[in-house]
Symmetry: C2
Subunit: 189 residues, 2 copies
């Protein structure tokens, strides 16, 4: 399958941002990887702010689709949340990479208001989906001790993100697993 240049640029930029942060990659990096010149990138993304917005929008769409797919493939609340945890685990790529929203978070001052709005929109979507899964798990009995699904969701998303940071610093994905162990143990398989 042939991928168009714009998609190649988004792929390259997402990988760069997730491994080096928003302030840690440049048009020159993308140009080298996609094999066009810096000037040509500006044809697709007029400036870095535009690129950042496009990255977050695509990321939001991708994750929403991933959650919808998890819904279809798993029967219980616990199974769905386990699948989400697996996805965040996989996104580590062995400790080299972070989820896009985490990698953008420390560079907030370099980002446009629109990008920050997209980040918040993404987080709201995720929190809502996770809340619903805790409600489901409470009802179907697949998650133990669920008192407040909203409080659970407000904790789980930050825990996933923080666990990624822990694994990244230690260059060891077991840190991620260790951070998630407590909540995973409440899932009935």
């Amino acid at each position: 399958m042939v991928t168009d240049t714009k998609t190649n640029l988004l792929n390259s930029a997402e990988h760069a941002a997730r491994t080096r942060g928003f302030d840690g990659f440049s048009y020159a990096d993308l140009a080298a990887e996609v094999k066009i010149t810096k000037a040509s990138i500006h044809h697709h993304f007029a400036n870095k702010a535009t690129l950042a917005v496009a990255l977050m929008q695509r990321y939001h769409t991708d994750l929403k689709a991933a959650c919808a797919e998890i819904d279809l493939e798993h029967a219980t609340g616990a199974a769905c949340l386990s699948a989400l945890i697996s996805r965040y685990h996989g996104a580590l790529e062995g400790g080299q990479s972070l989820c896009l929203c985490v990698s953008f978070s420390t560079s907030i001052e370099s980002l446009s208001a629109q990008t920050i709005a997209e980040m918040n929109s993404f987080r709201s979507m995720m929190i809502e989906w996770i809340s619903q899964k805790f409600r489901q798990g409470k009802e179907d009995g697949s998650i133990q001790h669920v008192l407040d699904p909203e409080a659970e969701a407000a904790a789980l998303l930050p825990l996933l993100e923080g666990a990624q940071l822990a694994a990244r610093v230690a260059q060891d994905t077991q840190r991620f697993e260790a951070a998630l162990r407590l909540v995973s143990q409440r899932f009935q398989t």
Copy 2:
């Protein structure tokens, strides 16, 4: 009290790193704030890598001292952990700032091996202290449902860090509080 230039530089750099990330501040920023020239900074810190190491070492020392002070001022495991959570909450500065280790984590590729080693050393120290507090809270009955103090600590530090990211993106410290609510509810006051 008069502060020497080197300390002023460290203070300025720490604030800059915590609000804009390691790749998001420059010697020019510090020079403007401390009111010396860029060239003079190199007298105190030969290069940015040296500065990063000094920042992490001081941060480690500061947090270790803060934990020791918490130990002295609070009787129970729950009270000590509540005090630590308060410190991380306060470090947000209303949603503008992160803890230094979090702000460095996304820029790992720009950091020297020595700086990364200092970050891991800091995290080990914190995990150990938190583990001990969960053990204490289990024994003195101040924390409910503690089965595995090590697993609790492996989760709490990432949760604190992830909760800071959540508050930073939303520009709302209530996200931090919401993320910590579940664990805080297990503390007997």
